[in-house]
């Protein structure tokens, strides 16, 4: 087998993959491993600060925990719809591939909106990355919270744009631009999201460059690796939710 494969100049003969699957999938897995270490480092830093500081505040009451639980349900349901999209793509059903991906995007957007409302509520109570109203001697509470959840929210946003590109291709571009414009117009100027919404504009520019320079029909493999990224985003939340929210409940 390998003796044939190493002869140069033979067309369509490649060394079989060590991992028994196609390169794009291996590439996505390797990226996800590196991103795992990124979030692992952030979670470690948060945990280190939390353990070493006995006065760590526990501000999350019933409303916050309920909100975060609904957000968890949204992400878990989005993972289910993503799996169903991958199954539909494998059997060649383009309509239901698109539909299940759109359902996944819906749950992802619901997660982002709920998380944005959670952030707004905490900011209204006086929480910033540098101080919080519950423990004046623990200024790093805000920094660790906003960094962890903000990094995750950014990944979810990128994931929604990624899924939009895979499911709708160029038709997604005007939708994304419209969402950015409407969100920028509707969100008050004193909200952090009035400026944070420009991440959608950055996503639009990147998506436009990719779709115009390399137009292609996204096949089952592309849907599957998009699914891997989406499940990773869900996986990270499985650790952020208990460590950040459930360990800091106020009852």
């Amino acid at each position: 087998m390998s003796e044939v494969a190493v002869q140069h100049g033979m067309a369509d003969v490649y060394e079989p993959s060590l991992f028994g699957t196609y390169s794009k999938k291996i590439g996505m897995w390797l990226f996800l491993l590196s991103d795992t270490l990124t979030f692992g480092a952030l979670l470690f830093a948060y945990s280190y600060g939390r353990i070493s500081n006995p006065d760590w505040p526990t501000p999350f009451g019933k409303e916050s925990i309920t909100n975060a639980t609904i957000m968890t349900g949204c992400l878990l349901s989005s993972s289910l719809t993503m799996v169903l999209a991958v199954l539909a793509a494998r059997r060649g059903d383009r309509n239901w591939t698109r539909n299940w991906i759109l359902f996944t995007m819906f749950f992802g957007i619901a997660f982002i909106v709920l998380h944005g409302l959670e952030w707004t509520h905490l900011i209204d109570e006086g929480m910033t990355p540098f101080k919080n109203p519950w423990a004046a001697n623990v200024p790093q509470f805000g920094g660790t919270f906003f960094t962890l959840t903000g990094m995750h929210m950014l990944h979810v946003t990128i994931g929604v744009i990624y899924l939009g590109v895979v499911s709708l291709r160029k038709a997604f571009l005007p939708i994304l631009l419209a969402v950015w414009a409407v969100a920028w117009w509707l969100i008050p100027a004193n909200s952090v999201f009035h400026y944070g919404v420009h991440a959608l504009l950055a996503g639009f520019i990147v998506a436009a460059v990719i779709l115009i320079l390399k137009p292609k029909v996204y096949d089952a493999h592309d849907v599957e690796i998009a699914g891997l990224y989406w499940h990773f985003v869900d996986l990270v939340w499985m650790f952020i939710f208990p460590l950040v929210y459930l360990m800091s409940t106020r009852v």
Partner: protein, 103 residues
Amino acid sequence: MHTAAATHDEGKGQYFWVWGALLLLTAVEVVLAYKRVFEPLQMLEALMILSIIKSALIIGYFMHLKYEVAAMKWVMMTAVTACLCLMCIFFPDAFRIVHLGVR
């Protein structure tokens, strides 16, 4: 394209069961934390065990790693677990700081 992962049963039923199990485990976590059933350290251990079980379900079934070849499973999971465990070397320092106190 035929791959190792494409040969497994692709029935939808198992994914709904996994989704249901994930929702159930989440509900257990929320009840444990909201009722403050355990002391903080035991609570952390319980939540981490539940989170690892949920992660295993997501990685194994939703991300299809269960159906990949053994080399991929072992290399991916061993590498990331080893790196994450290396970070834990510094945790005793955090406990030490609590006992040292702050001037």
